[in-house]
């Protein structure tokens, strides 16, 4: 187990370096990091040169990258456009987005897996067809459309929720945004669970369990579900990273001041430090979530052992 974790951590290094380098190059080479500092006007050449020297931007890109990563590992993510340290922005933004992601994942697990089990066990029946059609519709409507429509209906027309979320974003106000964020993945979780359950339903161990005289409930929860969850867990685990990155759209619609909001502002104002800093953390979250998923396999399926 320990050796496996160490090996996986080592394997994460090239992916981490590659992904952050890619984002670093995109932001640095394609945009002009100085342009954002002089506001709407263009910087005059002398100031630009001085700023570039100050931030080390006159050095080659690889050297800038190394300096930046060196700073990151000592906990220094640089400063944002308004002079605030990026770490300070993160400490206000990440808790909000983490709450939003938790709400979304809970929706995926509770509704997605339940619907998947129900339809998987009744494959071909009206319930199954109905849910399957519903998932197709949910997948086809892009998140921003779902979000705008729910905001219009629940927030503006019926007044059930506040159309925009307050800055401290308590869990109660994040329920609908969380559902919107989860919607597409929710449909995928339902379909994955359904496929997996329907496939495993015919397996020998289920027949054995039924033949032993176990109650149906126990067969489903202990034998069938546990064995069917591996692809679902893989999906949900990798979805954590995607949800946090994809929150840009949801956070924009409901005016939530989380990671997506800060990233969007950072990109619009060409603030390199904010964008690279946040993306670096997101990539780390994605990689760690993937590692945890792989370790969860062993819990779900005892045949998998990490020596």
């Amino acid at each position: 187990m320990g050796r496996y974790v160490v090996r996986r951590l080592l394997q994460m290094i090239p992916v981490f370096v590659g992904a952050t380098l890619l984002i670093f190059l995109m932001v640095n080479v394609m945009g002009d990091p100085i342009a954002g500092l002089c506001g709407e006007r263009a910087c005059d050449p002398a100031t630009a040169a001085q700023l570039k020297k100050e931030f080390g931007l006159d050095k080659p890109v690889w050297q800038q990258y190394l300096t930046y990563m060196g700073n990151v590992f000592t906990g220094d993510f640089g400063t944002a456009f308004n002079g605030q340290p990026v770490t300070e922005l993160m400490s206000t933004a990440f808790p909000v987005t983490i709450r939003l992601t938790v709400v979304a994942i809970l929706f995926e697990i509770v509704i997605g897996i339940t619907l998947g089990v129900v339809t998987g066990l009744r494959r071909g029946r009206p319930v199954d067809t109905g849910v399957l059609l519903a998932t197709l519709v949910v997948i086809s409507v892009p998140t921003f459309v779902t979000g705008l429509l729910l905001q219009l209906l629940l927030g503006v027309e019926w007044g059930w929720i506040k159309p925009s979320v307050s800055p401290d974003a308590p869990f109660g106000q994040l329920i609908v945004p969380g559902l919107v964020l989860a919607s597409v993945s929710l449909a995928y979780v339902t379909r994955l669970t359904r496929t997996s359950i329907a496939e495993n339903k015919r397996s020998d161990y289920v027949r054995t369990a039924v033949a032993k005289g176990l109650p149906r409930r126990r067969v489903i929860t202990r034998h069938l579900l546990r064995n069917s969850l591996i692809p679902v867990v893989t999906f949900i685990g990798t979805d954590i990273g995607a949800l946090m990155g994809g929150a840009i759209v949801t956070e924009r619609i409901f005016n939530i001041h989380g990671v997506g909001y800060q990233l969007y502002q950072g990109i619009l104002r060409q603030n390199t430090q904010t964008v690279v800093g946040f993306v670096t953390v997101l990539v780390l979250v994605f990689l760690v979530a993937n590692l945890l998923v792989d370790l969860l396999y062993a819990v779900l399926d005892p045949r998998i052992r990490y020596a």
Partner: protein, 326 residues
């Protein structure tokens, strides 16, 4: 070493930051081709290939027929939008802003007084162009790179796998925002280029996996024993037997690329206002959502219907090509 009874790549292949594209990937993993060929239904019966079997199933599948008709309609109106819409989508009259349905403008007018019906019809062209071109690019690049890596294996295969890992770690919308926010050109090409750049690893994983599966088949060994060259084995024996999962994933991905273009345009980094796109229209309509919801609902409906048609088509094709469901 972990003792794993399954091949790790196969399980992990269904993952990624692509969000909407993941399911297609993981479901396509179950699509394993059995070597095609005569099944021996009697000496007189002509051997049916997987493709003719699949085509026979598809023609009888109402889901396929309906989605194919919707797609055909979309392609026709994106080639000749003036067939069903008169006037220009850029001709707007502020005096008519936010007005509802009336003769000549069945969908009403938006906040700028543009005819929503005309703009919705003309918006199809953007979506179909982006979807088709991005999918072609992704499918070509991904299947060539993935196929070669799977066939030859070795050093470059590992390099390619690590590169795809890197791309999967970057959230798609985020990458789009970063890359496209600095593009000033207002055409569909930067958007398509971005999708190809970030989308190929998904197809490349599928292609690699299915080439590796096909490579182990006896007929490949037989061809090799007969002295066939690598290129002949790849093109004549492996490619036709490994292409099914790629087609399925690409069809479903086409729908998600259309949705992605609209999302990027909504965020203000895809296409920008003088262009006509459903994403732009939805974004422009959202401030007037209270007074003129029709300006938001029609383009949203068109967008959803288009994406739905492509996803259902992909679903139907997968069911037809998956021998396990027979």
């Amino acid at each position: 070493m972990p003792e794993q009874p399954f091949e790790p790549d196969r399980v992990i292949a269904g993952t990624g930051a692509g969000g909407a594209m993941d399911l297609a990937t993981s479901e396509a993993q179950t699509l394993e081709r059995t070597p095609g060929g005569p099944l021996g239904t009697g000496p007189a019966a002509r051997p049916r290939s997987l493709w003719s079997d699949a085509w026979r199933d598809l023609r009888r599948n109402p889901v396929f027929v309906i989605s194919a008709l919707v797609i055909l309609f979309l392609v026709v109106i994106s080639l000749w939008p003036s067939l069903i819409a008169s006037g220009s989508p850029l001709q707007c009259n502020l005096a008519k802003a936010q007005e509802g349905s009336q003769p000549g403008a069945p969908f009403g007018y938006d906040g700028q007084g543009c005819n929503v019906y005309t703009r919705t019809v003309y918006g199809a062209r953007t979506s179909v162009t982006v979807g088709v071109c991005a999918t072609l690019g992704v499918a070509l690049l991904g299947s060539v790179l993935g196929g070669l890596a799977g066939f030859f294996g070795g050093f470059w295969d590992s390099v390619l796998s690590r590169i795809t890992d890197v791309f999967f770690a970057i959230p798609v919308v985020l990458g789009g925002l970063v890359l496209l926010s600095v593009v000033t050109s207002n055409t569909v090409w930067p958007v398509i280029g971005f999708m190809v750049l970030l989308g190929w690893p998904q197809i490349s994983r599928i292609a690699r996996g299915s080439v590796i599966t096909a490579k182990q088949n006896d007929y490949v060994q037989a061809a090799r024993a007969l002295g066939a060259s690598d290129s002949r084995i790849l093109l004549r024996h492996i490619a036709p037997n490994a292409v099914a999962p790629v087609i399925v994933v690409a069809t479903i991905a086409l729908g998600t690329y259309i949705a992605l273009e609209a999302t990027l345009s909504y965020l203000g980094v895809g296409l920008k206002p003088p262009s006509v796109s459903w994403g732009i229209d939805i974004s422009a309509a959202s401030p007037y959502i209270r007074n003129a919801p029709h300006a938001l609902l029609w383009p949203s409906g068109a967008l959803a219907l288009t994406v739905l048609a492509f996803i259902m088509l992909g679903d139907a094709v997968r069911d037809a090509l998956d021998p396990k469901l027979r």
